[in-house]
């Protein structure tokens, strides 16, 4: 029994990191921009949170600082890709290299140091008493509730139930038509891309403030890329992202539990599980959907810069 509870608790905690980053990427891709810099943004967020909590021992301040740093780097990325219309793949890779490099350089001073302040579990009365599920879902830290309930519901509502959300999606599907209808395409893209980047950095802060409470080089370990893959797997829908993140978290948790219980598999091999799992989840559904002749619909203008002046 408690092995399942432990597995689920870790899955929720690990999945939350992915969910937060992937929610940011959903916002970004829905307006038509691929941000491959999530990995770098997460590293920046993670190191910012650690650095800030050393002088101000309050996790919320650390988290907010990470969001701010993410917003700033997101604005640089958005300026390059949306306003200057540079190649999104290249700018994303550049952001990943810049972010991981910078974070490792800055973070050398804090390497191995435990976080001075972390998010503590908030126990939801009554619900946390549910056997098995209670401890896993209702006695987690505040960030878990934020990423699994508040944010996805808010984003879903914004994107699918409001006029603003309709405009947002129009910008990602057909920027030319959106522009003709008077929607500010570039402003919309710029701010949502920046906002998405802020959430990615927030995911990094989640990592160091609630999951692995210390900084070490390479701590992000491809989670940013997994988050990008997760968005495709979740077919660009915020509610699906949360479910998928839980599934991906479960795979990660399996590796941790395996290590903790001394399964006769080397830790390095167990560590491959998230990447191999992601690989399966990104390839297999496409095969199945092709059989059913029902390919997942990415936003039609995804990855394409918008030129009003060149037709």
């Amino acid at each position: 029994m408690d092995i399942i509870t432990g597995l689920l608790t870790t899955a929720v905690l690990a999945g939350g990191v992915l969910a937060l980053a992937a929610l940011g990427e959903v916002i970004c891709q829905r307006v038509g921009v691929v941000n491959l810099g999530v990995e770098g943004l997460m590293a920046l967020g993670a190191v910012t949170a650690i650095a800030v909590t050393i002088s101000v021992p309050n996790p919320s301040v650390g988290f907010a600082a990470a969001l701010l740093v993410g917003l700033c780097f997101g604005m640089v990325f958005a300026m390059a890709t949306v306003l200057f219309r540079a190649n999104q793949v290249l700018c994303g890779l550049a952001l990943t290299l810049m972010g991981t490099g910078l974070a490792a350089t800055v973070g050398r001073a804090f390497s191995g140091m435990p976080a001075k302040a972390t998010f503590q579990p908030v126990i939801v009365p009554y619900l946390s008493d549910i056997p098995i599920l209670g401890p896993a879902f209702f006695s987690q830290n505040i960030l878990v509730y934020l990423t699994f309930i508040i944010l996805p519901v808010a984003i879903h509502y914004l994107m699918f139930k409001t006029r603003h959300g309709l405009n947002m999606r129009a910008v990602g599907e057909n920027p030319g038509a959106a522009d003709a209808a008077g929607i500010p395409v570039l402003a919309m893209r710029f701010w949502y891309v920046s906002l998405g980047a802020a959430l990615a950095a927030g995911a990094g802060a989640y990592l160091t403030l609630a999951f692995v409470p210390s900084w070490s080089d390479g701590i992000v370990a491809g989670r940013g890329w997994i988050a990008v893959a997760l968005v495709i797997f979740a077919r660009y829908r915020p509610m699906n992202v949360v479910m998928a993140a839980l599934l991906f978290g479960l795979i990660t948790a399996l590796g941790y539990v395996g290590q903790a219980r001394n399964w006769p598999v080397a830790p390095a091999l167990l560590g491959m599980l998230p990447y191999l799992g992601t690989l399966c989840f990104i390839i297999v559904p496409v095969i199945v959907l092709r059989r059913m002749r029902q390919l997942p619909a990415a936003p039609a203008a995804l990855g394409l810069p918008y030129f009003r002046d060149v037709r």
Binding site: A80, R108, I226, I232, L269, I283
Partner: protein, 350 residues
């Protein structure tokens, strides 16, 4: 008479070249500013880098040693760019090639003239094997190769780490996290620079010639530029994609094999100095030019070498990674700007 900016479908080669120079310069200036803010003198550091790189033959040999894998990983990425795809898994294929070559070198006995080619073939096979799944997924079901190739990098890194610290670790001397020394070594060409450098150069020239001057290469380029059109013209696009991606993996695998047989002589975790990722920058800087790969690889080798020299000054190689990211960002922006030309308004009837 008025002038206006007009966007052209492709940039002028001369402008694209100038853009690269400006991008690199800008990145260095920004990097220098950051260094200055953190309390170091960027000019003194630059001076030290120049002196230790170009002041002695050791420095130049280091450059050649670092350029060898960078030429190959850059070539690996460039090959896939020709068909419009991104192989950002050169890092993983590098590791896989190194692993396969090390397996042959450690566990098979034979004369060196036979074993080195065997290790080379193993490197080719390792690199190819590592890109097989992304290749098939791309060619048959259209799964984007960006993420699939990248995810396998982490798997390869862990796999090499597992073997180097686990079953193949050196049980004798106190070397932690690496295999015993591999006996078969690439002979030296000039100082520390081994024949791998020559192999890298020859492979690059060969690949460029095939891509530029043969029918096959032409078909690859057309498949990249316009897949529907290529299919309509009877070009087997799927087969070209498979061939190009496997070739790319093989080239990156060779880079890994040469690193094992020529430079490190052991298999160890982190044997790749981010060579796979830097290869992306090499390919981007080189655009589609073969000579460009050499120049870009030399530049990246210089920057990487600078990072190693400056370690004594408290800078880390991760600072260099950040700097290369800056180069890439500025190049990407500049590439877009290079599409614009000033034209006279009365002539522009677009």
């Amino acid at each position: 008479m008025s002038w206006r900016l007009q966007r052209f479908p492709s940039p002028k080669p001369s402008v694209a070249l100038a853009v690269r120079a400006v991008a690199i310069l800008l990145a260095l200036v920004v990097g220098g500013l950051v260094v200055a803010v953190s309390g170091l003198n960027p000019f003194a550091l630059g001076n030290q880098v120049m002196k230790s790189t170009f002041g002695s033959s050791f420095g130049l040999e280091d450059l050649g040693l670092l350029a060898t894998p960078l030429i190959l990983t850059g070539l690996a990425v460039m090959i896939t760019r020709r068909i419009g795809l991104w192989n950002i898994g050169a890092e993983g294929q590098f590791y896989a090639g190194a692993l396969a070559a090390a397996a042959i070198g450690l566990f098979v006995e034979g004369p060196a003239w036979l074993m080195l080619p065997a290790m080379f073939l193993a490197g080719v096979a390792g690199g190819m094997a590592w890109i097989t799944i992304p290749t098939l997924a791309r060619a048959f079901v259209g799964v984007n190769e960006l993420i699939t190739t990248l995810l396998l990098n982490f798997v390869a890194t862990l796999l090499v780490y597992y073997f180097a610290t686990g079953p193949w670790r050196d049980r004798g001397a106190g070397t932690l996290g690496s295999t015993p020394r591999i006996r078969y070594e690439m002979p030296e060409l000039w100082g520390m620079v081994h024949w791998g450098f020559a192999i890298a150069v020859v492979l690059t020239v060969l690949a460029a010639a095939v891509l530029s001057f043969t029918r096959w290469g032409y078909e690859v380029r057309i498949s990249g530029a316009n897949p529907e059109n290529a299919l309509y013209a009877g070009i087997p696009v799927r087969r070209r994609i498979i061939a190009v991606m496997l070739l790319s993996g093989a080239v990156a695998g060779v880079a890994g094999m040469l690193e094992v047989a020529g430079t490190v002589h052991r298999l160890q975790g982190g044997i790749s100095n981010n060579f796979g990722y830097l290869g992306i920058i090499v390919a981007v800087l080189a655009r589609t030019s073969c000579l460009g790969v050499f120049a870009a690889a030399a530049l990246m080798a210089f920057i990487l070498n600078a990072g190693i020299i400056l370690q004594t000054q408290g800078l880390t190689t991760s600072a260099i990674v950040a700097l290369t990211g800056l180069v890439l960002l500025f190049t990407a922006i500049g590439d877009e700007f290079a599409h614009y030309r000033l034209v006279r308004a009365d002539r522009a009837t677009a």
